[in-house]
Symmetry: C2
Subunit: 325 residues, 2 copies
C-alpha cells in the first residue's frame, strides 16, 4: 500500500481523498489542515486530521504528500519546504512561474533525496502531456487548447468582488465554430475573443444595480473585456439549484502535415463533472509514479514529461502488454 | 543527428522516410530492400539503397533501424534477429502475440546491449498509451476503442480474393450512435455489430457476378459476417479517382466515476489522411526515444508504456517546462 498524506483540506483535497478510495494500492494516512484540526471533519473514517504545524512528526510514515494549496501564494512556499522531508506532488498552475518553481523544488528534493512532481492535474497535466506527445509525432503542425464548458473559479471570484453582487458563477465556453475550424486542419490564427465566450450567472438582489454591474463585468480588464460576455441575473435559489457543480473540461487539438497531400488531426478531450475530483485523480496517479521513482532512487523534481505510462498504472507490465497494448 | 535505417520499403517505409524529413535531428542513412536494390528508387536524394542481405555491414553506422515488415510473418523473425546488432523499432500489431514477440526481442536486445521498441504506431501505439493513462487516472471506468472511418488493408485484400473481383477497397466506419452512447458516460455493452459498420467499393466488370459477390462478402466469416456491411459496385476509374488514399483514424474513449455524483469522459481521437505516413511519424518519434535510452545504457525491449514524453520530444526540457507544460 502506498501511504498518502493530504496537505490542506479544500475542494482539491477532497477530490484527492475521493481518488484514494478508487485505488486499491493507496491508503490515506493523515490530512493536514491550517485550521484547528478538531473543527475539520473528513470523509474517510479512522484517518487522523492533524495540524500543518505537526507535519514533520509524520516523516517516514507517509510515502507521498499531496499538497493541495493554491498556486498564487501557498505552493511556491509549501512545495519546496515540504520537499525537504517528503516526496510530494502538487498542482501548481501558474504557467509563467513554472521554471522558477521547478528549480526551487528540484534543489530541495535533490539535497534531501526526495522525489517531487509539480504541476500535474489536467492543465497543466494531461493537457501538457498531450501537447508534448502530439508535437513529437506531428512536428510540422500547430496545437490549440480550448477550455470548457466549465466553471472558472478565478472569474467567479472576480464577479463576487463587484459591489452589489451576492454570489456568482462564471462559465468559460469554447466557441464551436473555432473548434470546427481547428478540427478541419485549417490551422487558423485565432484571437482570444474568437476562441472562448464567457457566461455569467449573477445574484444581485437590487435590480437598480443590474445595468451598472453588467457594464462593470463586460469592461473588466484581463477577466472579461477581451471576450464576448453574457450576463444573466438570477436568484440565489436558482444559483444553488442549477449552478452548484464544478464541471470543467476542454480540448487539445493539433493538426499537422506529413507531406503535401496528407493532413492529420489529433484531438484530446475532457468532459468533467467535477474539476477537483478529476484533478485529484490525476494527482493520485502521479503520486504512484513518485513513489516508484523514489524507490528506484530517482530523486529531484519531475513533471508529467518525465513519467512513463507504466509508472502511473496500477496494472502489471505483463497485463499492460497482454491487454492494453 | 540521429542516423536512421529503414528495413523494408513498402507503404509504411515510405511513411517513415517522409517523417524523417519533418524532423531536423534525424538523418536517413540507408534503405534495405529484399528486392534487387538497383530496381528500387526512394524519395530521398543521395541515400543508399542496399540489400537486406548486407545489413550487417551497416552495424555501427546506424543509430536506430526502423523495421517496416508485416506483422504476420516478417516481424516475428526480423525484429529479434536484427535486435542483436541494431537498436530497432517496429510496428508489430498482432495484439495476441505481443507477449511472445516482446520476450524474443527482449532476449536478443539484452544479450547484445541494444535497445528495442516494439508495437508502436497508432494502434498499438498512441491508442495503447492513452488506454493506459486513462485507466490510471480514472480507474473506476471502462474504455472503448473505435476505428475509422478508414481503409482496412486486410479487409480490402479479402475482397480482392473473391472470384470476379478486379480490385476493391473496404472502409471501417464507427457507428455514430454507439460513439454517442459511450460519450454520454452510459458505459454500454456493445456487440461487434453495434460498434462498426463496413462499406465495400468493389470493381467487378461482369454484372452477372454482382449478386453472388455481394452474398459472399456479407457471409464471409471473421471479416464481414458479424457486421452490417454495404457493398457498392463501381468502375476501376471510380475506384482510382475516389478511393486511392489510405485514410484512417479512430477513437479511444474512457468514461468513469470518481464519486456517486461525478462522471468524467476522456476522449482521444485521430483523423488521418494517410495511415502509413502517420504511423511512420510515430515510429520516428519512438526511434528518438530508443536512441536516447540506448545512450543512457537502458537496454532490452521497450514499448510505449516505458517511454516518458520528454524522450519523444525534440524540444529541450527547459522549453517543455516554459512553453508546453
Amino acid at each position: 500500500m502506498i501511504k498518502i498524506g493530504i496537505y490542506g483540506y479544500g475542494n482539491l483535497a477532497r477530490g484527492v481523498e475521493q481518488a484514494i478510495k478508487m485505488n486499491d494500492d493507496m491508503e490515506l494516512v493523515a490530512v493536514f489542515t491550517r485550521r484547528d484540526p478538531s473543527t475539520v471533519t473528513i470523509k474517510t473514517e479512522g484517518v487522523e486530521v492533524a495540524s500543518t504545524k505537526d507535519v514533520l512528526s509524520y516523516k517516514g510514515k507517509i510515502d507521498v504528500l499531496v499538497i493541495c494549496g493554491g498556486s498564487a501564494t501557498d505552493l511556491p512556499e509549501q512545495t519546496p519546504a515540504l520537499a525537504k522531508d517528503f516526496c510530494v506532488v502538487d498542482s501548481f498552475d501558474t504557467h509563467a512561474k513554472v521554471p522558477t518553481h521547478f528549480a526551487n523544488v528540484d534543489a530541495a528534493s535533490k539535497a534531501n533525496g526526495t522525489t517531487s512532481l509539480i504541476s500535474t492535474g489536467w492543465d497543466p497535466g494531461m493537457f501538457s502531456l498531450n501537447r508534448a506527445i502530439m508535437a513529437a509525432v506531428l512536428p510540422n503542425g500547430k496545437d490549440y487548447t480550448f477550455w470548457g464548458k466549465g466553471v472558472s473559479q478565478g472569474h467567479s471570484d472576480a464577479l463576487r468582488r463587484i459591489e452589489g453582487v451576492v454570489d456568482a458563477r462564471q462559465y468559460t465556453i469554447p466557441v464551436e465554430s473555432a473548434l470546427e475550424r481547428v478540427r478541419s486542419g485549417e490551422n487558423p490564427e485565432l484571437t482570444t475573443r474568437e476562441k472562448h465566450t464567457r457566461e455569467c450567472f449573477v445574484v444581485a438582489p437590487n435590480e437598480a444595480d443590474h445595468a451598472r454591474i453588467e457594464k462593470e463585468i463586460k469592461e473588466m480588464p484581463n477577466y472579461f473585456s477581451d471576450y464576448d460576455t453574457t450576463v444573466h441575473f438570477i436568484t440565489l435559489e436558482e444559483l444553488k439549484r442549477n449552478h452548484s457543480g464544478i464541471p470543467h473540461g476542454g480540448f487539445v487539438i493539433r493538426s499537422g502535415v506529413t507531406s503535401d497531400e496528407c493532413k492529420h488531426v489529433i484531438e484530446y478531450k475532457l468532459k468533467l463533472d467535477s474539476n477537483p475530483e478529476f484533478t485529484g485523480s490525476v494527482l493520485i496517479a502521479y503520486a504512484r509514479a513518485v513513489y516508484r521513482l523514489n524507490k528506484r532512487g530517482e530523486t529531484g523534481c519531475k513533471t508529467v514529461f518525465d513519467i512513463a505510462p507504466k509508472d502511473l498504472s496500477s496494472v502489471s507490465y505483463e497485463e499492460l502488454l497482454a491487454h492494453t497494448l
